[in-house]
Structure formats: C-alpha cells, structure tokens
Symmetry: C2
Subunit: 296 residues, 2 copies
C-alpha cells in the first residue's frame, strides 16, 4: 500500500527475515554546509544501504524523516533526485515519511530481506580466516581533505575523491553474494582499523594485516606518501566498502561468488587478540589519525 494512510503496509516473503537499519545525517556534522542537495539525498540512502550490505540483505523499502528549515523546491528537487535515483538502482520503494520544519536533518530507515538464519554478522570470524575488503579504501578521506581545502588536487582527481566521499557505492550486491561464504562482515564507515576491530571484538579473535596489500586507488598512491595513504585507509571513514572474513574452505566459492566484483585479501584472522598492521618490510606500523600536516 502506498503513502497516504496512517501507516504503510508491507508483506515479507516466506522464509525471509527483515534486516532494518537507520541512520541520520545532520548538516554541518555529517556533511559540510556546502554539500549539494543531490549528494545529501544520495548519501543519506547510501549509508543505510551499506548497513544492509554488511548483513547480506537485499534492499526492499525505506522511510524518510526529513527536517528542513523551509520548503524550498530548488533544494527539494535535487535532493529527491539524488535519493530516488539511488533508490531506483537498489530497487528500494519509499513507503512512508514525515517532513518537519527545523535544522536540516535527514533520517532514513531501510529494510531488506535475508533468508532466515543466513544474515552476515560481525561475530563469526575464526583464526585462519582470510580478511578481505571490496573496492579501494581511503578515497573518501582524501575527498574530505579536498572538500575542506586541506589539499589541492588536479580537477579529475579532485572530482574522483569528492565523488567517493559524497556518492559512496554501497555494496549490497557483494553482501548478498557473500551470504553463505563469509564468516563475518561489516561496512567501513569509521575506517578499516575501527571497523575490522568491531569484527575482531565481536568474534573474540585478533588479526594481522599487510599494508602492502591494501587496495589503494591511483589517486591515493600518486598524491600522498605511502604512510599517509595507509593512515587514510586505516583511519579515515566514509568509504562504505565491505570488510569481511572467509574460512579457508570457502576460498573457491568466494572466487566464484565475487568474480564480477572488485575485492582484495589484506590479512588473516589470528587467535592473539588485537589488530597488527605490517608495512612492506614486515615492521609493525602504528596507524595515526590523519591530520592537517599530512597534506601540507
């Protein structure tokens, strides 16, 4: 049933569970005031789809709670366009919402379907499992530095990294393909070190990762020192790639399941608690929160 009654009515296919995620973006906190409305609409949905991806759920529907200072078609039209274009790609229906007056705040809740007892979770990683990430990581961190004018990049590179920040590519197709293969999964919103850390804590295991294996875009490799690039990949957030673990006996299945997608093995789960990062010469590397000086 469409919008217009007091509540939306939804049916859930037989044998499926619902995965439900909710995220709020606040102007000036989660995106700079200068962000264009198209990107705000797009990203508000994207970060939620990324949560569904981490559970291996197929996106199904969403609700929108939009608080705006005033009704302004010049703002609402591109905002809706950004939101609905991604919704169309992800085959997500808008089933309800509430529009209120106040400081710009966008809350989206998404629901997805996942077969009963087959959702990916943070817990489940075991010693010996390989650790993987999709796509490339660190780009959104460089995009934020660019938006905040902490680094000056060539036009094309600037567009690439800012687009990685403002229009992340949620990996629900990959998440769905990983359902019976990965032993754990999470999406990278706070940086690889923090988010892989959530998997390790939830699974009561540790891990080693090889920084030389991190998938870095040419933008990062060509415009930053290797150390600065690693720090961005480890500590900057907003990439919305997936990080997941795969048991050794599922390696072949993994290759088949993700053959159309980009993914990289970066390390291994171990019994010793904690996360250890090694540089290309085998030395322990201490990640640093990336600061202004790295871009000067």
């Amino acid at each position: 049933m469409g919008i217009g009654d007091d509540a939306a009515l939804c049916s859930i296919p037989k044998g499926m569970q619902l995965a439900i995620a909710i995220d709020t973006l606040v102007e000036g906190v989660h995106f700079p005031v200068i962000t264009c409305p198209y990107d705000i609409g797009y990203k508000a949905l994207a970060v939620n789809l990324s949560d569904l991806a981490a559970m291996g759920a197929t996106p199904a529907w969403m609700t929108l709670a939009l608080t705006i200072p005033q009704t302004d078609d010049a703002w609402l039209a591109p905002f809706s366009q950004g939101l609905l274009e991604l919704a169309k790609v992800a085959q997500v229906s808008l089933i309800g919402g509430d529009t209120t007056c106040g400081s710009l705040t966008v809350t989206i809740q998404v629901a997805g379907f996942v077969p009963i007892n087959s959702a990916l979770q943070r817990r489940g990683a075991n010693p010996g499992d390989g650790i993987y990430v999709t796509g490339t990581i660190g780009d959104a961190g460089l995009g934020l530095a660019s938006v905040q004018k902490r680094i000056k990049l060539h036009n094309e590179v600037q567009q690439f990294v800012e687009s990685r920040l403002n229009r992340p590519n949620p990996r629900w197709r990959e998440g769905k393909a990983l359902r019976s293969i990965a032993s754990s999964a999470i999406d990278i919103s706070d940086g690889l070190a923090a988010d892989l850390g959530h998997i390790l804590n939830a699974s009561a295991v540790g891990a080693s990762i090889q920084l030389g294996s991190l998938p870095l875009s040419s933008a990062l490799r060509e415009h930053l020192s290797l150390e600065a690039a690693w720090n961005l990949a480890l500590s900057a957030g907003d990439d919305y790639e997936l990080c997941f673990t795969v048991p050794p006996n599922q390696e072949t299945a993994l290759q088949e399941a993700l053959k159309s997608y980009s993914y990289t093995r970066i390390g291994i789960v171990e019994t010793t608690l904690g996360l250890r990062s090694y540089d290309t010469e085998g030395r322990l590397f201490a990640p640093q929160k990336i600061g202004y000086q790295h871009f000067s």
Copy 2:
C-alpha cells in the same frame, strides 16, 4: 537480534503483514522548549503508536533516531524513562537507532503486526455507517492554551489538560479490537474536522455530525463556552483518539468488541460530499480555528 550489528534482524509471524509508521518531533515546533524530557520521550512514541492504532496493528518494535545538542545524562535519563515506560506498556522492543549531534529532533519509527488484508484504512466508509470517536476530544487543545499561558486554570484541571497534551493515550487496543468491525479509521492528530475529512475524501463520501454528541471532558464543559469547546474538539489537534466508521450490521459486534473502552457515536456517513456539523438546535455550525480571543 539485539542492537550492535549493522542492522537489526526481525522475524514476522506467519499470516501477518507489517504496518510501519514514522514521525518526527522537533523542539519548538511539535513541543514547546519548556517540555520536560520525560514527556518528549513519551510523546514521540505515543504519536507513532497512534498511527498503528489507526491501522488496527499490534505494536511490535521501534527504532529511534535522536539528534541532541550535547550528551547530557540529566536530559537523557528522563527522556529514556518516558520512552521506555510507554514501550513496556505497549510491549514494543527498541531494535535499533542512531544518536547524532544537532538541534533537538526525535524521530521514531514503529512497526506493528496485522493479519494479512485486515488492516483498517481511511478508505472504506459507506453511506449509512455510524461515525465514532474514542475517549474525549479537545482536551489537548485546551492543554496547549494552558501551556502557552493563554488561559489560567485551576491546578487539577491544568494538570489534566496538560497531561492530555503531553502524554496522549494511543488507542492500539481499541484499534486492534476494531479490525473486522470498522469500515474505516484514522487517529485524530490534526483535529476531528480535518481527520474525519481524510476518511471522507479517501472514501468519496460525506457526513453529518451532531455537536451535542461530541464527547467533551468536564474540563472543557466547565471552563469554556459550548461554542469554544466545539471549536477545540473540531479544530485543535494532538488528541490522538481514534475516529472510525461502523456499518449498521456491525453495531452489535462493536458493542461487544469495545465494551471495556470509552467510545461515542457522533454522526453518520452520507452520500452528499463534505462534512456538516449541526448544533443542538439543528443549525449548521461553521467551525472556527480556535484563537487567542476564545480564552480571554
């Protein structure tokens, strides 16, 4: 599955649909800045439960997106208490949420279960159906006048009407009992005239109501002129009672289904479009938006 993974996982009982509602309360818009945090938490859930009530759905779970200026336990503790006390009564589980920093904005989404194809809707009223409301109406409007110091009331009366404004009593039990009996239903959030109007429009019918039949509390009857009381009942919102219609052949079933609850017949559905209100002498009454002068 509890809070802590990327998304919550929920199962839906066999034969059930989900009814989903979402509502945002913004400080200074939906509640005065002076509203106590307990009442904000309570009301944010209550208005959503009222939407489920209007669909005849049994409340099941909720998510909370809370935007607050700063983390403040002295505020969060009573806010949570108000929210969770009502959640306990309604047997609603908090399955997820997001807390962000910004102007005070509370978005709650609730989901409830309703047997497939038996949800109450706005469309469905037919000429000859009786029109009913639960409880008493207009109290929250008087409560708002009291909070805004537009009227001075005795302590006990003031407490009653302000409590009707800040702690509405969502009628999910009544809504559930009306599932196979009412031909249409809505909750009264914008005032009886507007909300009954939604039923009439959705059902392509009209109606006559008898103002002498409106269920008015003694607070309204004793502190306002009859005309002012009628105007509040018709045009002030925030009562969160149910308005519903019942076909003549369901009258006996209605008496049985709502025998433990308070409800009143106020009019009849007609083929002639529009809503007509008649005073106790049978004259047409034109509702007025209640203004300052009514309380002076």
